[in-house]
Amino acid sequence: MNPIDDFLLDNVLPDKKPLTLAPQANLLASELALMDCGEISLLIPTNEIISLVSAQQLVAQPQSSFDCGYLEFEQQYYSIFCFNKSLQLQPSMNPESTTMVLFNAQNILFGVCCHELTKQNATGLTFHAVPPSMRSRKQPFTEFAILDNRAVGLSSVAALIALLRLRGAKLISQPGPASALLGAG
C-alpha cells in the first residue's frame, strides 16, 4: 500500500455508513457453462442448453440481416446468431467460432456461436452487480464475475431471447419439428 493510501485510509475514508460489498449471486442449483464468444463471455445454466454442434454444420444462408444462418438438428430448425463486442448481431460467423450452442425456451429454438463452451463451477466465483454507470438494457446480465481478467456475465436463455428481440430478431415459437424457419423476414 502506498503512503497516500495509508493516509487516506486512516483519515479520509467515511466511516458513518458501511460500504456496499459486491453482492453474492444467487448461486444456481444447476451447473453453469462458460460461453466464450470472443469479445464477450457469458455464464449460462447448463440445463438451459439443448446441445452443442460444430460450427461446420452451419448452413450459412442468413434468413434475415440479424442471423448468420441456420442449422437443422433433430428435425428442427435453429436460427444461429453471432454477437460482437457491442452486443450487435453479426451477419456472418466469426472465423474463430467453432461451436454453436443450441437453446430451446418455450419452443423458441435458436443457437449462438461461440469459440468455446466449458463447464464452470459457480461456488468459487464472486459476482459483482453491474454498476449504474455501466448498465445497458442490451446487456443480457445484471451481475458478472471476473475470470482471467475478463468480465463474464451471469446470463440465461430468457435474457438472450430478450437481447435478440431488442436487436430486432423475430423469434417464433415452433409448434413441432421442421416447421417454418426462424428469424426476421
Binding site: 497516500i4 493510501d5 487516506l8 479520509v12 475514508l13 467515511p14 458513518k16 455508513k17 458501511p18 460500504l19 456496499t20 460489498l21 459486491a22 469479445e39 464477450i40 454477437f83 463486442k85 457491442s86 452486443l87 464472486t126 459483482h128 453491474v130 454498476p131 449504474p132 454507470s133 455501466m134 448498465r135 445497458s136 438494457r137 442490451k138 446487456q139 458478472f144 471476473i146 481478467n149 475478463r150 468480465a151 456475465g153
Partner: protein
C-alpha cells in the same frame, strides 16, 4: 458525505472561508474539479475489465480491494471522442459518492496527470451556465482560477446514472 467543495482545513475554515478542491487533469489540457473529500485514492491500475455493449467512455472498470470500480473517461464523454488509452498502467482517481438511497459507492476517473489540491475562495465561484455546454449538466458548481474555468463535478449524476440516461442529459 457532502458533495460540495469542503474546507481545506477545518481549523483554518473557522477564520477564513477558503475551500478545497482537487483539480483532475483528464486529457488534452482539460481539467475538472471535485470536492476535497470526494477524492479518496489515487491509484495506478494495471488491468482493466471491459463490459460489453457500452460507449467507450464508460466501458472499463477494475477490481480494487474486493470491489469492482467503474471508471469514466471524462474527456471522451465531454468531447464525444475516444482518446486511445496508453498501454500499461493507468492512473485513476478513486472517488466516493452517495447514491439516492444513501449508500456510499466508489467510482474512478481516468487521469492524464497528477491531481492538484487547490484552495478556492467563494469569490472565485462562477455560475454553472458559464461552463461549456458539455459540462453544464455534469457539474453542480464552477470556479475560476488564473483565468481557467473549472467545472465541479456532480459525482452522483455521473456515476449513478446509466450511460443512456447520461447521454440524453449530456
Amino acid at each position: 458525505m457532502k458533495s460540495q467543495i469542503e474546507p481545506v482545513n477545518p481549523t483554518l475554515s473557522k477564520n477564513t472561508t477558503e475551500l478545497g478542491a482537487w483539480v483532475l487533469p483528464i486529457g488534452h489540457g482539460a481539467s475538472v474539479a471535485i470536492g476535497q473529500y470526494e477524492l479518496k485514492y489515487i491509484e495506478y491500475i494495471k488491468t482493466s475489465i471491459t463490459l460489453p455493449g457500452l460507449p467507450a467512455y464508460c466501458e472499463k472498470g477494475f477490481q480494487w480491494r474486493d470491489h469492482f470500480i467503474p471508471m469514466l473517461d471524462l474527456y471522451s464523454l465531454a468531447e464525444r471522442r475516444r482518446i486511445p488509452m496508453a498501454e500499461g498502467e493507468q492512473m485513476v482517481a478513486i472517488i466516493a459518492y452517495e447514491n439516492l438511497q444513501g449508500e456510499i459507492h466508489f467510482g474512478a476517473i481516468f487521469l492524464q496527470g497528477i491531481p492538484k489540491l487547490m484552495p478556492v475562495k467563494p469569490q472565485q465561484s462562477v455560475a454553472v451556465t458559464e461552463l461549456d455546454t458539455a459540462w453544464r449538466l455534469l457539474s453542480h458548481a464552477a470556479f475560476r482560477d488564473q483565468e481557467i474555468l473549472y467545472p465541479v463535478l456532480d459525482l452522483r449524476c455521473l456515476f449513478d446514472k446509466t450511460p443512456a440516461d447520461l447521454l440524453v442529459l449530456h
